[in-house]
């Protein structure tokens, strides 16, 4: 109970700030009499959200499908690559610079090529999401595996534990905090990645909805879609936090003895 009260107290300033910005925005639009097609007031955005609810839900479904597939793909590839890079230092030395260079390439410039390579369907969107999410996952996992104390591995070897048990009991849990901080970043970017993919060519998805409403000057609808993107990203972020909380029960217990 106390914890809830504390959480509420801590999030209060943030909520107030958001509210203040919205009110200011609304007031500005009304006082200056801005055209709705140029800058819709928050009230118009909410109204659009209400009118397009079922359509937006349908588009969100398509976007989330690309997000789920792309995010999973990036996690799997990053995990496999990080484990290999950790096992063979020459591979790490060879691939690490490539990994960083790959991150500096503007994906939006490459995305049209993905259409040619992977077609107009879901695959090209999945690839864009996976590329956006891959880097934070891979870097965090590589770094996490580097942090594993070699003495813990020695200890298990002396017990005659096999590689599978060593991975399960020493490496995997030690890497989990790194995994989840990578996943938080990746999950937040993933929706944006899918939207970028959908801008290029798609029949369904929040990106498509955005583009269509922009072209027909229904700016309020565009903002409604943006709002949905923001909310979905935040939800994914919170979901990742929840998963981290569930996966690492040892982070939840308070110390009984103060550190000597």
């Amino acid at each position: 109970m106390k914890k809830w009260a504390n959480t509420a107290k801590r999030s209060l300033p943030g909520a107030l700030a958001v509210l203040a910005v919205l009110l200011l925005w609304e007031a500005l639009c009304r006082v200056a009499d801005v055209a709705v097609s140029k800058l819709p007031p928050p009230s118009a955005v909410i109204l659009s959200l209400y009118h397009n609810a079922s359509l937006l839900a349908e588009h969100s479904r398509a976007t989330l499908a690309a997000v789920a597939a792309g995010l999973s793909l990036s996690v799997l590839v990053a995990l496999a690559l990080a484990v290999f890079m950790d096992r063979h230092s020459w591979l790490k030395q060879a691939l690490y610079p490539l990994l960083i260079i790959s991150q500096t390439i503007p994906i939006i410039a490459l995305a049209p090529l993905f259409l040619i390579w992977f077609g107009l369907g879901l695959t090209s969107k999945i690839v864009v999401v996976a590329l956006v999410c891959f880097f934070p996952m891979a870097i965090n996992l590589v770094e996490g595996l580097e942090q594993v104390d070699p003495e813990t591995i020695n200890l298990l070897k002396v017990m005659q534990a096999g590689p599978a048990m060593i991975f399960r009991s020493a490496q995997l849990p030690a890497v989990l905090p790194y995994f989840f901080s990578g996943l938080k970043i990746a999950a937040t970017y993933s929706v944006m990645g899918a939207v970028i993919g959908e801008w290029l060519a798609a029949r369904w998805g929040l990106g498509v909805f955005m583009l269509r409403s922009m072209r027909s000057y229904q700016t309020a609808n565009t903002f409604a879609a943006i709002l949905v993107v923001v909310v979905l990203s935040l939800l994914l972020f919170k979901l990742t936090e929840l998963a981290a909380w569930l996966a690492m029960p040892w982070h939840r217990h308070k110390s009984v003895y103060p550190e000597e």
């Binding site: 813990t152 020695n154 002396v158 005659q160 048990m165 020493a170 849990p173 030690a174 040892w250 003895y257």
Partner: protein, 260 residues
């Protein structure tokens, strides 16, 4: 092989061990021509200043590091550079923070293929002896320093081996806890009948615990003195102020200073 074991009354033999660390261009010689023999049931202390290569020697004995020169024999069998199943306890307590006390202590049993349930009940049986009753479900950071060391010792004792290699297990503890644990260790060893190679940089600890003290010089470590300690057992705390104890202490202090 059994015949050999009976003939050899020695659990561990180190023969002319020399070791060097290679770090880029620099070669750091750490051990120079070290030989020692640990008899069945014997408690030997390896006493020397920090940086003299004591931890390295324990790792060589466990087969985790291959020496440049020399041989390791375990129960009469050569095992140089091959990881052996021995009761190795690294310098830090190295309890896995993501495992409860029970799960940590059960690791060697699980590595040996024991079923989880059986391993748990075997650990629980031993908790009272190690002063850890009622703490099975605690995580390491919830335990005091002394409890963590006892838990790490419990885990080490559960590795099925007649040999214990203990690397400064009490060095990080405050003086009072340390003295209590020394006494406690002697009482525990009366139950478990293991041969012990115990690393320490405390002269008092070495004399109080050991049947034989090997004094190691500063890096590169050589054995400068092999001193049998002929104090009666069981030993009580009071022994440290008796004349024989103090004369051993004077002897070891003199050798430490003169060989620096």
């Amino acid at each position: 092989m059994e015949e050999k074991m009976e003939r050899n009354n020695e659990v561990l033999i180190l023969e002319n061990i020399s070791a060097t660390y290679d770090s880029g261009e620099a070669r750091l010689p750490v051990l120079k021509d070290i030989s020692l023999r640990l008899k069945k049931g014997e408690f030997a202390a390896l006493l020397g200043p920090s940086g003299s290569g004591k931890s390295t020697l324990l790792k060589i004995a466990a087969g985790l590091i291959r020496p440049d020169r020399g041989r390791v024999l375990l129960n009469g069998q050569e095992s140089t550079g091959r990881v052996q199943k021995v009761g190795y306890m690294p310098q830090q307590d190295l309890l896995f923070p993501w495992k409860t006390l029970l799960e940590n202590a059960a690791l060697p049993l699980l590595a040996a293929g024991m079923a989880k349930k059986e391993a748990s009940s075997r650990v629980r049986e031993l908790l009272p002896i190690f002063g850890l009753e009622g703490f099975a479900r605690y995580y390491p950071h919830q335990l005091s320093g002394g409890m963590r060391q006892r838990a790490a010792l419990l885990r080490t004792v559960l590795i099925e081996s007649s040999l214990l290699l203990l690397d400064e297990p009490f060095a990080a503890l405050d003086a009072i806890t340390r003295e209590n644990l020394q006494e406690w260790l002697l009482s525990v060893l009366e139950r478990f009948h293991r041969s012990v190679l115990f690393v320490t940089h405390s002269i008092d600890e070495a004399i109080y615990l050991a049947d034989r003290v090997y004094l190691i010089s500063e890096r590169p470590g050589r054995i400068v003195l092999e001193q049998p300690i002929e104090l009666p057992r069981p030993r009580s705390r009071g022994i440290i102020t008796t004349a024989p104890f103090l004369s051993y202490k004077a002897l070891l202090m003199k050798s430490l200073q003169s060989k620096d």
